[in-house]
């Protein structure tokens, strides 16, 4: 089995990289682009039977810095 963890900067935390991407998209003529936020996706191969609670612990301890980031977990 596998877990896919999405880590994003929290709402309200300025995302200068997302802003730069937004500027670049506007520069290419994509006028319909509003805000852009950039995050990361982490795919983890797991032993069968690993619970979501364990992946949550991984997020809390290492994968996300909850001061500035939020995360969501998909078990696949």
């Amino acid at each position: 089995m596998m877990a896919r963890v999405h880590v994003m900067l929290k709402d309200g935390v300025l995302d200068p990289q997302g802003e730069a991407v937004r500027h670049a998209l506007h520069g290419l003529g994509f006028d319909g682009v509003g805000g852009v936020r950039q995050g990361k996706v982490i795919e983890i191969e797991l032993a069968e039977g690993t619970t979501e609670a364990t992946v949550t612990e991984m997020c809390e301890q290492l994968l996300a810095n909850t001061v500035i980031e939020s995360y969501s977990i998909e078990l696949i």
Partner: protein, 222 residues
């Protein structure tokens, strides 16, 4: 008086920091990140600048979970002194020894130049060699020095006099111009600017030398 300087793969200011401590009269022992104990009789731990573990995941995140950081945490919890500079500051926030986090610079660029720092708080062993309100010049060299914390934490840091340094001309977007903060017991300082790069006439600037000289004197008195 003894200092330990932690070395991670990717640290690149470890020897400069050791030199800063040595010039102030401390004996210095370098400690590898895989070590599971700090040398005995350590008075202060230095966490140097650099790019520990290539800044993978987040700056300082992997280093904060290395074996030696458990010992650094225990040392701090026992009331020990620690100084984290640049990547060392990022490691201190990632270990939750200090509050807040360091984001990518607001302007997205890596900045390497000497900037003005206002000493916001002189009541600590790190800053007692400076006058509160004094402006000093210290180099910065970072890509992720944009200090952020929620408003409540920022208010608390200010109310408790734990903002050690502020930028006179904020280069990176840090909340409330904060360049360095103290722990609640004032024995841990994390700062983005590099005082160890301003310790010798050959570096063209000795404004950082006072930090090391006064902390060594304070440790000797303790």
């Amino acid at each position: 008086m003894k200092a330990a300087v932690i070395v991670f793969p990717g640290s690149n200011c470890d020897r400069d920091l050791a030199e800063g401590f040595r010039k102030a009269g401390l004996d210095v022992q370098m400690v590898w990140h895989k070590d599971t104990a700090l040398p005995s009789d350590i008075d202060i731990v230095g966490i140097p600048g650099g790019f520990s573990f290539g800044d993978y995941l987040r700056c300082g995140a992997i280093a904060a979970n290395s074996p030696i950081c458990r010992e650094v945490k225990a040392h701090v919890e026992r009331g020990g002194y620690a100084l984290g500079i640049c990547n060392g500051f990022q490691v201190l926030t990632e270990t939750k020894i200090l509050p807040g986090a360091l984001l990518r610079n607001g302007g997205l660029k890596y900045i390497c130049r000497t900037i003005g720092l206002s000493v916001a708080e002189s009541q600590s062993i790190f800053t007692r060699g400076y006058e509160a309100g004094e402006t000093i010049r210290i180099p910065i060299a970072h890509h992720d020095g944009n200090f952020t914390a929620d408003a409540e934490t920022l208010d608390m840091l200010e109310a408790e006099g734990r903002v050690a340094f502020r930028y006179t001309d904020n280069p990176n977007g840090s909340d409330r111009d904060i360049a360095g903060i103290l722990s609640s017991n004032r024995r841990v300082l994390g700062m983005m600017p590099h005082p160890e790069r301003a310790c010798d006439p050959a570096q063209g600037n000795e404004d950082g030398a006072r930090l090391f000289a006064h902390l060594t004197a304070a440790l000797a008195e303790a």
